[in-house]
Amino acid sequence: MDAFTTLTGIAAPLPVANVDTDKIIPARFLKTIKRTGLGVHVFDTLRYDEQGAERPEFVLNREPYRRAEILIAHENFGCGSSREHAPWALLDFGIRCIIAPSFADIFHSNSFKNGILPIALPREMCDLLMEDAQLGENARVTIDLARQVVVRPNGEEIAFEIDPFRKHLLLEGLDDIGQTLQHEPSIDRYETGRAAEKPWMPAISIA
């Protein structure tokens, strides 16, 4: 996973609530066995018409938003299916940060695991950033993770909250599994303890 420190980029406005993961990446594109290559299908139904031609009105089909690295949206972003293909597709398109008033739990956690920073801000703040994003090329938004601020194009700073552990992993580009394996002795102890306490619980064996 790539580390996330600071990011300055174009923010795309997507003023929609309850953007579900079926919308981010429809099920028909889940038949891949890889993590990469899904960017061309991100928001497929919104982005392309029935013939596969781009819908010019969709934000990510317009300049400069084709190069967007930040997405601004409304409430409950990423609801629905647990598919990690959703953050993979966003990342493959180039999105590294999503700002919305709230996120669905699984999407929120999946994002961090792929180096995408989800930032929850009060609706009024999101509305300001949504207006900024409308400015297109002139709307470079900066995310400074170490200082936990979003910097608007006019230089104003908006502070955001983040779980310290998640922040640490993102800043260092660390993967969770490596972290957890440092606790392997505790896991061993837990398993031994459980087996001693409930020796009658069977293991699964599908024959």
């Binding site: 003023p15 929609v16 609530a17 309850n18 579900d20 079926d22 919308k23 429809p26 099920a27 028909r28 889940l30 038949k31 891949t32 066995i33 890889k34 993590r35 139904t45 029935e50 409304h74 409430e75 409950n76 609801c79 629905g80 299916s81 647990s82 598919r83 990690e84 953050p87 709230s102 669905a104 739990d105 699984i106 956690s109 999946n110 695991k113 792929n114 779980d163 310290p164 552990f165 969770d176 599994i177 972290q179 957890t180 394996l181 606790h183 392997e184 505790s186 896991i187 837990y190 398993e191 459980r194 409930k198 009658w200 619980m201 069977p202 293991a203 699964i204 064996s205 599908i206």
Partner: protein
């Protein structure tokens, strides 16, 4: 000691270690794996030179992508076949127990977990699928995870998690005739909204929940994720123990008695605190049906398509207008007058034998309306066998329904069963998102009895008119 909820108890029993910031290393008892969300996880293990820590706590099955017509011919769609073959290679390489496609026990991962006794009370259960919440019906803490977490569980048998908040949804009183578990959960989602449970684990309680059989409880817990909750749980009781007893992978004999003694300690203590409490009166519930493209856009079948102009919030109004345009419905239109083209009875929400029975009871002696195509897809091979032993397949076939092999099928349209653009479907599945059942398809969520009623009348209809 402070009074604890069901969730608190199961959580506490699985904390391996608490890190300084409150994140817990949470032990996972059971891990279910399927073909769509696992290939990248196994690939990650391979690249890092890691093994599966406890293959014997893991079970893999194929369900999302498999055809539900004759399978002896193999899988025709190349990408689906590659995913299935990839899983088969991975389980062989990593020594993970696997239920193959042609095994009678194959089926939707959330149907076979409880069916085989893999899912048990007091256990932590995860799967790379959001409807893992289903297994909470047994009094387990069960939730969906992403592929990175699938890899994490495979490698460490744990997850890094922070405790969720506790939410109590109490459904008092008795359900009226013609209503079932699906109507309860749709009514709950209609009340609290698709983000109502975010950050919470919902415990369902109250007389109407206690009265449900295990199938009904699974239907309710299944859709917890549609209310935004991390998981849904129901305290185990005699109904639960009777269900678990004798399941192939459950503890047997003396071990079962010991397990029951443990499971009886799980129900929430008197005075346990919940962060959020919601109370519904079952007596007021009417058969439910969705009209929009979010599960919270639900109404009684006796109602009408709502009018966006009555919505004061501008953004919400615009969203409603978009939904009605997509669904091709007009404000004020009676829901019971909406004509349908397709019916889908199945999925992890309503693919159990009890659901097949409820649908068959309505279909019996009737005919699928002209121009309507109706699919019945059992949730597992064993559900299919049981239904056939009871003659339900004959009831469906005589009425003109299709009787298929087990799988996810038209719930998400990854296999050949999908809606075409503009088709309208009465579906017992759990998501009515745009394009969920096929690009341009329109989905109305409802109960199995209501779906069968729609099939035989050709429109959305109050099933109580037919019984």
């Amino acid at each position: 000691m402070t009074a604890r909820t069901l969730f608190d108890k199961v959580w506490d029993a699985h904390v391996v270690e608490t890190l300084p910031d409150g994140t817990c290393v949470l032990y996972i008892d059971r891990h279910l794996v399927h073909e769509v969300t696992s290939p990248q996880a196994f690939e990650g293990l391979r690249l890092a030179g890691r093994r599966v820590r406890r293959p014997e706590a893991t079970v893999a099955v194929v369900d999302h992508n498999v055809p539900t017509s004759d399978r002896r011919l193999g899988i025709q769609e190349e990408e689906s076949r590659i995913q299935v073959e990839t899983l088969e290679r991975n389980v062989a390489e990593f020594g993970v127990p696997y239920i193959p496609l042609l095994d009678a026990r194959q089926g939707i991962v959330h149907i076979i977990g409880p069916e085989q006794g893999i899912s048990l009370p007091a256990h932590t259960i995860v799967c790379g699928d959001s409807h893992t919440s289903t297994h909470g019906a047994l009094g387990a803490l069960a939730f969906g995870i992403g592929t990175s977490e699938v890899e994490h569980v495979l490698a460490t048998q744990t997850l890094l998690q922070k405790p969720a908040k506790n939410m109590l949804v109490r459904v008092d009183g008795q359900l009226p005739a013609g209503c079932g578990a699906k109507d309860i959960v749709l009514a709950i989602i209609g009340r609290i909204g698709t983000a109502g449970g975010t950050g919470h684990v919902i415990e369902y309680a109250g007389e109407a929940i206690r009265a449900l059989d295990m199938a009904g409880r699974m239907t309710v817990c299944n859709m917890s994720i549609e209310a935004g909750a991390r998981a849904g749980m129901i305290a185990p009781d005699e109904t639960t123990f009777a269900y678990v007893k004798g399941r192939p992978l459950a503890p047997q004999g003396e071990a079962f008695e010991q397990a029951v003694a443990w499971w009886k300690t799980l129900p929430s203590d008197d005075g346990a605190q919940y962060d959020t409490v919601v109370v519904l009166d079952a007596a007021e519930i009417v058969p439910q049906v969705t009209w929009g493209t979010s599960p919270e856009t639900v109404a009684p079948i006796t109602g009408m398509v709502p009018d966006p102009m009555a919505e004061p919030d501008e953004a919400k109004r615009a969203q409603m207008q978009r939904m009605l345009a997509y669904m091709d419905l007009t404000p004020g239109q009676k829901l019971a007058e909406v004509a349908i083209d397709m019916v889908f009875i199945g999925s992890c929400t309503n693919g159990r034998i009890e659901d097949m029975r409820a649908a068959a009871a309505v279909a019996k002696g009737r005919k699928v309306a002209p121009g309507v195509r109706a699919l019945v897809v059992p949730g597992s091979g064993l559900v299919k066998q049981a239904a056939e032993a009871e003659g339900l397949d004959a009831v469906f076939l005589e009425a003109g329904f299709e009787w298929r092999e087990a799988g996810c099928s038209m719930c998400l349209g990854m296999n050949p069963d999908k809606l075409t653009a503009g088709q309208r479907c009465a579906s017992t599945s759990n998501r009515n998102f745009e394009g969920r059942q096929g690009p341009g398809g329109r989905t109305h969520l409802l109960s199995p009895a209501m779906a069968a009623a729609a099939a035989v009348t050709g429109r959305l209809v109050d099933v109580r008119e037919l019984v």
